[in-house]
């Protein structure tokens, strides 16, 4: 196998990895404030992608224009869901929360099936079918823009969490909820906003990377699984770890399917997860 092909696959893996990292980061955000393991995470993104499809087919609006609008819609959806559904169930325990999101998977996948049918769909954007060639690399513009936006958002989210009041409050709640409440942090409000931002980021990411995926009603759960793997490999609740984990999984998946073919390539992320959990149970960058 020539070095060029390997290089090409590695670069593509890194680009997909940046996207995975962002999905995992938003999952980490949702997880860290309330302990909610969100099995419906990828399904929210699938919903946003179908939203982009509607915008393109019905109104001829490009996915990149839709993305910021989707962020606002999904932010509102996230806050509403948190207030009405997630918070009352989380009060009964984190397991009840995880089970609720399993129910949401059912609802969202079948909502998509009812609204759009079970066919495969592709959504073109202005950048589709255009490549950037930097010999020996050939890269599709959609992937370049998608991964660059994902990386920028990841870094922005990280800076927000590290430097702003909101970020400090989120981290305080994640570390010690009771102490945070005693310091005067409005737990419910911060949790709702964090959940909203987490879901909103999915609303933004979905349209931005829609050209990279074939849309099916059940695509969401696959994305959830990737996000879970990335989140755990990096250490649950560790934001830098999630970024590193995303890149590792992206490259492993890309090289794996190039060298060993589809099925083995698909198995590699899960195998990595099992190994990490068995030998570094708190994640590659996890503490304790």
């Amino acid at each position: 196998m020539s070095n060029e092909v390997l290089l090409q696959a590695t670069v593509q893996g890194l680009q997909m990895g940046a996207i995975y990292a962002l999905i995992a980061l938003s999952m980490t955000l949702v997880f860290s404030v309330g302990g909610l393991l969100n099995f419906a995470h990828g399904d929210f993104m699938a919903l946003a992608m179908y939203g982009a499809m509607v915008a393109y087919v019905s109104f001829k609006i490009d996915a990149y224009v839709v993305a910021p609008i989707m962020f606002i819609i999904f932010f509102a959806l996230g806050v509403t869901l948190f207030r009405g559904l997630v918070r009352p169930v989380l009060a009964a325990g984190v397991l009840a929360g995880a089970q609720l999101t399993l129910g949401l998977v059912f609802v969202q996948e079948n909502l998509i099936l009812v609204l759009f049918g079970g066919d495969y769909n592709n959504v073109p954007t202005v950048l589709s079918n255009r490549n950037l060639t930097i010999p020996p690399l050939v890269m599709p513009w959609t992937l370049i823009v998608g991964s660059a936006l994902a990386a920028a958002l990841s870094i922005a989210l990280y800076v927000v969490l590290l430097r702003t009041d909101f970020g400090r409050q989120v981290r305080a709640i994640a570390q010690n909820r009771d102490a945070a409440a005693l310091m005067g942090i409005r737990i419910d409000r911060i949790q709702a906003i964090a959940f909203g931002v987490g879901i909103g980021l999915l609303g933004f990411t979905g349209p931005v990377i829609v050209a990279q995926f074939t849309l099916t009603p059940t695509m969401g759960f696959d994305l959830t699984l990737i996000a879970l793997i990335v989140m755990v490999i990096g250490g649950i609740g560790n934001f830098l770890g999630s970024m590193a984990g995303g890149l590792i999984i992206g490259v492993a998946e890309s090289l794996g399917s190039l060298l060993y073919g589809g099925t083995v390539g698909a198995m590699i992320p899960y195998a990595i997860l099992v190994f990490v959990l068995l030998f570094r149970p708190h994640g590659l960058l996890g503490e304790r």
């Binding site: 393991l37 609720l100 959990l277």
Partner: protein, 332 residues
């Protein structure tokens, strides 16, 4: 003050369940198939509940055990002509070994419960991908069972017999789980669920009992896989090895009430027929409409009764009793 119950508490549940188990002669043929599916899920939910509910270890890997049972007995029947009546024990044994191995791997360290869920998801996905690509297992095409058509080969002429077989499985599993729940083992498991550190501190051998719960649960699920394979006469990865069936098992159990003896019985007995009714009413229209209605129903139940229908019932009964007590003791 309290009315004396006519029968001890569990007896009513048993009576109702035995009536359901003897019902098929009264049912039409389409309902018998729904009944078989219901009893199968009662059985699988009771089995999952032993590790997932009573011991509180959120396992998503039960598709592995279902597949282990189904594929082991089927491969033995195809290649060696072994009747599934013997193959079922081989299947249960393979499932148990896998279960014990997973439990040992994951519980050596005190991983938080959610990472256990993730390890089991990952292993279940690995298993699914492996089965759907290995030729010995028929890959994604699956395996068809050799047709014998005799009871000696675990194949019956009519569905009523299948119904009685799976009902017997379910009765056995409920008996086992009810017995476990009240013995020392059950107390240990519930102590581990409620506070693992405290249980460890007072001397409960945590690892041993978690492995025991997993082993029992895996063995029962393996037997369920053998039955399902005989009933369908066909084994393939989507039905037996995908995570979807585990999600259904978990949701049914949770809606009934995880961690109780009768919760995993009540959940599927309401939800499986409800799902079939919805399919009957809405299935002709838009694809997925009945599943959407079904999913919304599940979410609503979890929202208003996170501890399951049995938990909600118990809270309602206590509230009613407190109200009556307040009325009786009030000055007027």
């Amino acid at each position: 003050m309290r009315d004396k119950p006519l029968l001890p508490p569990g007896a009513w549940s048993w009576l109702l369940f035995l009536l359901a188990a003897l019902a098929p002669p009264l049912m039409s043929s389409s309902w018998i198939n729904i009944g078989i599916l219901t009893m199968l899920f009662v059985y699988l939910c009771v089995a999952w509940n032993i590790v997932g509910g009573i011991a509180g270890q959120f396992c998503v890997g039960h598709s592995l055990f279902l597949a282990a049972g189904a594929y082991t007995s089927t491969l033995l029947a195809i290649h060696f002509g072994v009747t599934p009546w013997i193959g079922m024990f081989a299947g249960a044994a393979v499932a148990t070994l896998i279960g014990l191995f997973i439990a040992w791997l994951s519980f050596r360290y005190a991983l938080p419960p959610l990472s256990f869920a993730l390890v089991t998801i990952a292993l279940a996905m690995l298993g699914y991908l492996a089965i759907s690509s290995i030729d010995l297992f028929g890959a994604s095409r699956g395996l068809t069972l050799p047709v014998r058509g005799t009871p000696a080969a675990y194949q019956f002429k009519n569905d009523v017999t299948y119904y009685f077989v799976i009902s017997a499985h379910a009765i056995g599993a409920i008996t086992l789980s009810a017995w476990l729940y009240h013995t020392k083992i059950g107390l240990y498991l519930r102590a581990i669920r409620d506070n693992e550190r405290a249980a460890h501190a007072i001397g409960v051998p945590v690892l041993k009992y978690k492995m025991l719960a997993m082993g029992i649960s895996a063995a029962l699920t393996g037997l369920g896989g053998v039955f399902y394979a005989q009933y369908l006469q066909y084994v393939e990865p989507r039905t037996f090895a995908s995570i979807n069936i585990v999600i259904e098992i978990i949701l049914f159990t949770v809606v009934g009430g995880a961690g109780t003896v009768w919760g995993p019985v009540v959940g599927p007995m309401l939800l499986v027929p409800a799902g079939e009714l919805l399919r009957h009413e809405l299935g002709g229209g838009l694809p997925g409409a009945h599943l959407l209605a079904y999913g919304l129903l599940l979410v609503v139940v979890i929202r208003f009764a996170p501890d399951g229908l049995l938990g909600a019932l118990e809270r309602g009964r206590q509230a009613w009793r407190a109200m009556r007590l307040a009325k009786e003791t009030s000055p007027q």
